[in-house]
């Protein structure tokens, strides 16, 4: 049944390809950005929850 559905949509093969390309581009650009982050930023950011007057 599904083959019939697939065949009736023209160029359906483009969808999985778009999906793959989108994800790969998205993922690797994110990795590039994250790897390049400088240390101070990361340290400042991760200490934010602890940075208040309250002693735990």
């Amino acid at each position: 049944m599904y083959k019939q559905v697939l065949n009736s949509i023209s160029n359906v093969e483009i969808y999985p390809i778009i999906t793959l390309v989108l994800f790969v581009v998205f993922f690797f650009s994110m990795i590039a950005i994250v790897v390049g982050m400088d240390k101070d930023t990361v340290e400042h950011a991760s200490s934010l929850p602890l940075d208040d007057k309250e002693a735990t």
Partner: protein, 713 residues
């Protein structure tokens, strides 16, 4: 220049109280329905308390009332403290609180009354959906304006999760709730059949993702570092895992529909993305657990950390189990069984429940300015909860697999070994009993928490506001060059509007790529000429089926397996559901599939069975529905129902407000009732609900038999 400001603890306390109260109620309803499976006559014979109506009440109470209030509790506590700014408007906070509670009360009233859409976790009817959208937007507005008026430039990872939660839940809720009202208490979704199923499970799956996962990950990212007093293990990992999680989650919905009439490519896409989802999910788990590295001694001391650790570990287990369940071969066995019930309870009780009790134990002592009343009692609660979860989950795993294997077992002669569905139910009754014990243990533990939190509050003084100081945000810092790769994410983390837009884009990509082909499917689902819209009486019967929640125990989707076609009949085709607003495929077979029930038994069998299922099926755990024999079918509403469906392109030939609609319905009802009376059922009355229900049951899945040409697979 330091500025002084005050955090509002009142709203935090209110949400804490609501979380605890609704939690206990939600758990108790769960216990009641678990008992109903063992003793079908328990609270029986009352429409408002029947299993099919209480089960959605249980799921909605736990998801939206217990976990929902816990989300607001966590956000209203952590957001202002992370941003160094009180909530933007105390008035909006209050509207959020009271609006949400009013919606829950509305659910507690409407669901037992049978006012339901039947779509899982979206059962509330259209007027409630509008209220939910309004309150949700008020919450989001308050949150975003707080973020825009913050003093801390950098937006911490927990807050991105909160933003993603707000945006995505809004999108999901609106799309899945699109419906045409036929009356004040009844609407029909604009999608039908396959499309409706796809939209529903795109919603259902992502409700788990963006209501039960992302906000709790935000809570984890704030409260684990707080409780352990050390920064998050890897901030970089949190960035990678945040973006991958929200990107991938949205695609995985179709794994709820494997082997159904959904086109295969959509099923495969769901499976692939489900497997990929392990990576970002485990990124979150690892980040949470490793934050405690070198501080594990504190886990022994602190009930907060104990609940956190078990919660995050259960999250890791569930998010491994989920992708495995989305493999077609595993899904073939686990789907429709109690295995899935075990899977969701591992997540709900350990992950959502664990984190919720952890933050309650963290927050209440702090806003009352005293230590927790009894650490020992909290530890006792911890063990009751953990044992309760094990006693719940393990029997359900065993029962689910046992039953599934029995469904699929053939004798050497090629016949089903257990042709009677009921045999497979009675075999797993001991598991249902053990599960009830597990649930009861969990509830007892929760009652310890209530006592503990109450005593803590009693022994302290409530700090309605908490003072804090911080310098105003340095606006000049915003003009820093943004283009360098090094500074990009830092820059982005200071730009809440852009961050929100990016989140929206990311979650829409998955939706759009999935929806374009689905929209095309609409015109490409092979039409089966003999499939016709329901007659007015059958439509009334279908709405009674929905109202009484029959779909909570009975699927209408025969998968293309020999074990299913041998048991139920020809497998279900996509073209058979084109007029089904909503689809009623179901997700759990506590009873047998009903798609080919039409014509299987005579009307008289249904007439006896619905009143007292044990009379036709000894040992059945289905509750009787005696009210169907005393309550009248509402014929007067049928013209507006037909009008609503015609608006949705269901090809009825009736004119608007055609008197023939009611006449036809009554004539068909009288025909059925007269035949029953002729067989000796002297009380058969054409006006009663049972007659409409029988009309629908006998129509179900029969159109295809009239087909001259059956579409090839």
């Amino acid at each position: 220049m330091m500025e002084t400001f005050h955090y509002d603890n009142k709203i935090v306390r209110n949400f804490a109280i609501a979380t605890v109260i609704w939690g206990i109620i939600g758990f108790l309803v769960g216990l009641i329905i678990a008992l109903k499976l063992i003793y079908p006559e328990f609270l029986g014979g009352i429409a408002e308390l029947t299993y099919g109506r209480l089960r959605p009440l249980h799921t909605n109470a736990v998801v939206f009332a217990f976990a929902g209030n816990a989300i607001f509790l966590g956000i209203y506590y952590s957001l202002p403290r992370l941003l160094k700014a009180p909530m933007w408007s105390a008035k909006l906070s209050a509207i959020n609180f009271w609006g949400w509670q009013a919606i829950i009360v509305g659910a507690v009233i409407t669901l037992p009354l049978g006012i339901t859409t039947s779509k899982e976790y979206a059962e509330l009817e259209w007027f409630m959906d509008i209220a939910i959208a309004l309150v949700w937007v008020i919450f989001g507005l308050n949150m975003m304006l707080t973020i825009f008026n913050r003093r801390e430039k950098h937006i911490y990872v927990a807050i991105w999760f909160y933003i993603a939660t707000f945006i995505t839940v809004a999108v999901l809720h609106i799309v899945n709730s699109l419906a045409i009202p036929a009356s004040f208490v009844k609407s029909y979704p604009i999608f039908a059949g396959v499309q409706d199923a796809l939209v529903q499970w795109w919603y259902g799956h992502n409700a788990v993702a963006f209501f039960l996962t992302t906000p709790f990950l935000g809570i984890m990212y704030y409260f684990i570092p707080k409780a352990a007093n050390r920064p998050v293990y890897s901030y970089k990992l949190s960035i990678v895992h945040f973006w991958s999680l929200i990107f991938i989650y949205i695609w995985a919905g179709p794994h709820h529909l494997l082997y159904t009439s959904l086109p295969n490519w959509a099923q495969s896409l769901g499976t692939v993305f489900s497997i990929m989802l392990i990576a970002p999910s485990w990124g979150g788990m690892i980040n949470g657990l490793l934050t405690l590295r070198g501080a594990y001694d504190r886990v022994r001391e602190s009930p907060v950390l104990k609940f956190m650790v078990v919660g995050v570990t259960a999250y890791g287990m569930s998010t491994f189990e989920g992708p495995v369940l989305s493999l077609k071969t595993v899904n073939a066995i686990a789907h429709y069984t109690d295995y899935i019930i075990a899977h969701v309870h591992l997540g709900a009780l350990a992950w959502n429940g664990g984190l919720t009790f952890a933050i309650l134990y963290y927050i209440i002592p702090r806003i009352y300015g005293v230590p927790l009343y009894s650490k020992r009692l909290a530890n006792t609660h911890f063990w009751f909860a953990t044992l309760g979860i094990l006693f719940y989950v393990i029997p359900m795993y065993v029962g689910g697999i046992m039953q599934s294997l029995m469904w699929k077992e053939f004798t050497a002669d090629g016949l089903l070994r257990y042709p009677n569905f009921l045999e497979t139910v009675t075999q797993i009754m001991p598991m249902y009993i053990l599960r009830t014990v597990g649930g009861a243990l969990f509830i007892v533990g929760s009652l310890f928490a209530v006592i503990n939190l109450w005593k803590t509050a009693k022994s302290g003084t409530f700090l309605a506001t908490e003072e804090d100081q911080a310098p105003a945000m340095d606006k000049t810092a915003e003009v820093r060059p943004a283009v360098t790769q090094k500074a990009f994410h830092r820059w982005l983390e200071g730009k809440p509007a852009l961050l929100s837009v990016l989140v929206l884009v990311v979650i829409l990509i998955g939706g759009i790529v999935e929806f374009i082909p689905t929209a095309m499917v609409d015109s490409n689902v092979p039409k089966i000429d003999s499939v016709k819209p329901y007659t007015p009486l059958e439509l009334a019967g279908r709405d009674i089926y929905i109202s009484d929640g029959c779909n909570n125990c009975h699927s209408q989707m025969i998968r293309p397996f020999r074990s299913e076609t041998a048991r139920y009949g020809d497998y279900s085709k996509a073209g058979e559901f084109v007029y089904d607003h909503p689809f009623l495929w179901g997700s759990k077979r506590t009873g047998p599939d009903l798609h080919r029930i039409g014509g299987k038994y005579p009307d008289s069998w249904h007439y006896l069975h619905m009143r007292d299922p044990q009379s036709t099926s000894p040992g059945s755990i289905m509750p009787g529905s005696p009210w169907m024999y005393t309550r009248d079918t509402n014929f007067d509403v049928l013209p507006s129902k037909i009008w609503a469906l015609k608006t949705l392109n269901v090809p009825y030939t009736y004119a608007d407000n055609d008197p023939a609609i009611i006449q036809d319905a009554k004539a068909q009802a009288e025909q059925i009732a007269a035949a029953l009376r002729a067989q000796g059922f002297s009380d058969a009355d054409a006006n009663k609900q049972i007659i409409a229900l029988i009309a629908y049951m006998q129509r179900m899945g029969t159109d295809i038999r009239k087909a001259t040409t059956v579409p090839s697979k």
